[in-house]
């Protein structure tokens, strides 16, 4: 286990921003932090980096406390975007990368590589204030990954980008993960987490709703979705044991069931009626899990 947060709590005056979080981020994994505005994602990241002192609890990375002796191995993209507006892109990257202990020549080579990767090589000599917001965000992402960190913490890396750029950045993040980096990123978009992450943690108002491997979470969650398509009316299933919810849309019926075992009973019941062209047991979506755990719609 590379990164471990145990009983992490942060209070500001009477307000508890982060309430007793316990997570473990395995080495080499892609870990998603999911939560709406004010869920405590940024506060958790700031505590991770030592920018805020936790009110209670511990954070360790490879069994050691995180301090300034290991920041060269960590890359961080803050949620609050910002660079020195008056500097040129290469000057800014040189400075930030040197702070991570890199040499001038390496920085230059890596910068060219990443600018090419993000399809903005023409911006190298431009002043940062002249760049669009999305392009500034790319530069800032470059600054946080240029030193090939082992642990990358990205706070809302895809927010405010157009879909084309989101794809470019997602690809880069995936590549980094494949080449061995442990990546921890926060988002309020469930689809990004489902697409990218193996592990996740859902936060709601500072509290940890659920965490762990996505597949495990989904199978442990129990609830499944049953999709049945056919011409026959099966609305009698509403009152069938194990059925939590029943929705009908023309020929398509979506049934929420408490456990997978009820699917078999339903199957046996409907085949007696006649032919159905579709009978499928679906994994629950993160959205369903969120609603079930928190008791309200996500966001």
């Amino acid at each position: 286990m590379s990164l471990v947060l145990s009983n992490l709590t942060k209070r500001f005056d009477d307000f508890t921003a982060v309430d007793d979080i316990n997570i473990e981020v395995p080495t080499g994994s892609m870990y998603g932090f999911l939560g709406g505005n004010g869920a405590g994602k940024t506060t958790t990241f700031r505590m991770l980096l030592g920018l805020l002192t936790p009110t209670a609890g511990n954070i360790t990375y490879n069994d050691k406390k995180i301090d300034y002796s290991m920041t060269d191995k960590i890359g961080y993209l803050p949620e609050e975007r910002g660079l020195h507006p008056k500097l040129q892109v290469d000057e800014q990257i040189q400075y930030l990368a040197k702070l991570k202990g890199m040499k001038k020549a390496d920085i230059d080579k890596q910068l060219d590589f990443w600018l090419e990767e993000f399809e903005v090589p023409e911006n190298k000599q431009k002043k940062i204030e002249k760049l669009s917001k999305g392009n500034q965000q790319k530069i800032q992402l470059i600054a946080s990954i240029i030193h090939e960190p082992e642990l990358i913490i990205l706070d809302e890396p895809f927010s405010g980008l157009d879909p084309v750029n989101v794809e470019i950045l997602k690809k880069a993040v995936k590549n980094l993960n494949e080449s061995g980096a442990t990546i921890l990123f926060s988002t309020h978009r469930m689809d990004h987490v489902e697409e990218l992450c193996e592990e996740l943690c859902i936060l709601n108002k500072g509290q940890q709703v659920v965490n762990g491997n996505i597949d495990d979470i989904k199978s442990d969650f129990g609830q499944k979705e049953l999709v049945i398509e056919g011409r026959h009316d099966i609305s009698f299933l509403k009152d069938f044991p194990g059925v939590l919810d029943f929705k009908q849309k023309r020929n398509k019926n979506v049934i929420k069931i408490a456990e997978e075992k009820y699917a078999e009973d339903i199957y046996n019941e409907i085949i007696r009626i006649g032919y159905f062209k579709r009978f499928q047991v679906m994994e629950p979506s993160l959205n369903d899990i969120f609603i079930a755990k928190v008791g309200r719609q996500y966001e």
């Binding site: 002192t53 960590i74 961080y76 803050p78 910002g82 702070l99």
Partner: protein, 403 residues
């Protein structure tokens, strides 16, 4: 340490390479060169021509005395029998009535020389006409001797010099004046620069990326030191220009014209002035960093730096207004107030009665204040770095809670 160097050089180089730095430095250097060549520039605008010879039409007695006095007063003007640049006609009377005829305009300096020479001859002629003995004439010319004995000066009478006000040394005053002015200029300029630098990083939020790589205190100190070094670089250029002007341009004439001569307090004056200049810069820049770390938006910066502006103006005026009055009670009291010490203490060095111990106490006071300011700046900076609270007061409160 490497990260300290990175931030230091980054800040230093970006400031030194900035156009504003280069332009102000060049302008001030040009002004220094201009000041060094002041006499030549004055001459350029002076349409009068130099007078070399004077033809005297007067009694023999006068001519004799005048020819004896003239060389003592003027180096350029000599007597001639005919065809002089100017003609001096003197009526034989006491006091003298003289007329000077000239084709060209006579410079004010040479007019004064001629007047002085005439005055001297006149005095001699008056003495002669009154039939005084040499002793009697000597008594008239003797300086009076006044001893002001006040209760205070009686008490410390054994120091000998007490009660006797020294003639102010103009060179030392000029040194003081220049130091205080330079300090004021640099403080005002660089206090706002360091404040801007810190507030800008906070308002542009780049600071969060920076402090995820380097500790805030390390970063802050690198910045303060870099800005101090930038100001010293600028000072170096100024001082180098002054020295170059002294050696390359013959400013001896100017110096003697203004009666600037070194005395035994000139060397301590120079040393102490430099020390207080340095201490003043460190103090004011540290406090500016402290104030800069209170604000989160550039708009609030000027307001936050107001105390610095007011104190440096106050310090400068305290120094300037009491130039000829360094033993004034106001000067003595304010010289121990840390923010005025760098401005006022060098003034007290002008006064021979000020002991070295007093000056050292002043230095210690400033150094202690610097340490306190830096300590608070570091703590507040660390606490307020990620806060976007708008008010200065809110940030101070936050600091008190140690967040």
């Amino acid at each position: 340490m490497n990260k300290f160097k990175t931030t230091f050089w980054h800040t230093y180089l970006s400031k030194v390479k900035a156009k504003s730095f280069i332009i102000t430095t060049i302008i001030v250097m040009l002004l220094i060169v201009l000041a060094g060549n002041f006499d030549k520039i004055m001459n350029l605008f002076d349409s009068s021509e130099a007078i070399n010879t004077v033809e005297v039409e007067a009694t023999e007695e006068f001519t004799e005395q005048f020819s004896a006095v003239l060389p003592e007063i003027s180096e350029d003007i000599s007597m001639t029998d005919s065809d002089g640049d100017i003609v001096l006609t003197v009526e034989d009377s006491v006091p003298i009535t003289a007329t000077v005829e000239s084709e060209v305009e006579i410079s004010s300096a040479q007019q004064t020389e001629i007047e002085l020479a005439l005055d001297s001859v006149n005095r001699e002629m008056v003495v002669n006409s009154l039939d005084l003995t040499e002793e009697e004439a000597g008594l008239m010319a003797a300086e009076i001797d006044v001893d002001f004995q006040t209760a205070e000066s009686m008490e410390e009478g054994d120091s000998g010099a007490a009660g006797e006000m020294d003639e102010p040394n103009y060179l030392n005053i000029v040194i003081f004046y220049v130091t205080v002015f330079v300090m004021f200029f640099v403080v005002i300029n660089y206090a706002s620069q360091i404040g801007t630098e810190i507030a800008m990083e906070k308002s542009s939020r780049v600071i969060e990326m920076i402090v995820s790589s380097v500790s805030p205190v390390n970063h802050l100190f690198a910045k303060i030191l870099a800005i101090i070094c930038v100001s010293l670089t600028q000072l170096f250029f100024f001082v180098a220009t002054i020295i170059a002007v002294i050696y390359l341009v013959d400013i001896g004439a100017i110096i003697s014209e203004f009666g600037l001569e070194a005395n035994d307090r000139t060397l301590p004056m120079i040393i102490y002035s430099l020390v207080f200049l340095l201490l003043g810069l460190v103090l004011y820049l540290s406090v500016s960093a402290l104030l800069g770390s209170f604000v989160s938006r550039m708009e609030d910066l000027q307001q936050a730096l107001l105390p610095i502006t007011l104190m440096s103006i106050g310090g400068m005026y305290l120094g300037m207004f009491n130039l000829f009055n360094p033993d004034n009670m106001l000067v003595i009291i304010t010289s121990y107030f840390p923010f005025f010490t760098p401005f006022v203490m060098p003034l007290r060095v002008l006064d021979p009665d000020t002991s070295h111990l007093t000056v050292w106490i002043g230095m210690v006071i400033v150094i202690i204040t610097v340490i306190i300011a830096v300590y608070f700046a570091a703590r507040i900076y660390k606490g307020s770095i990620l806060s976007t609270d708008k008010g200065i007061i809110k940030n101070i409160r936050k600091f008190n809670k140690g967040e």
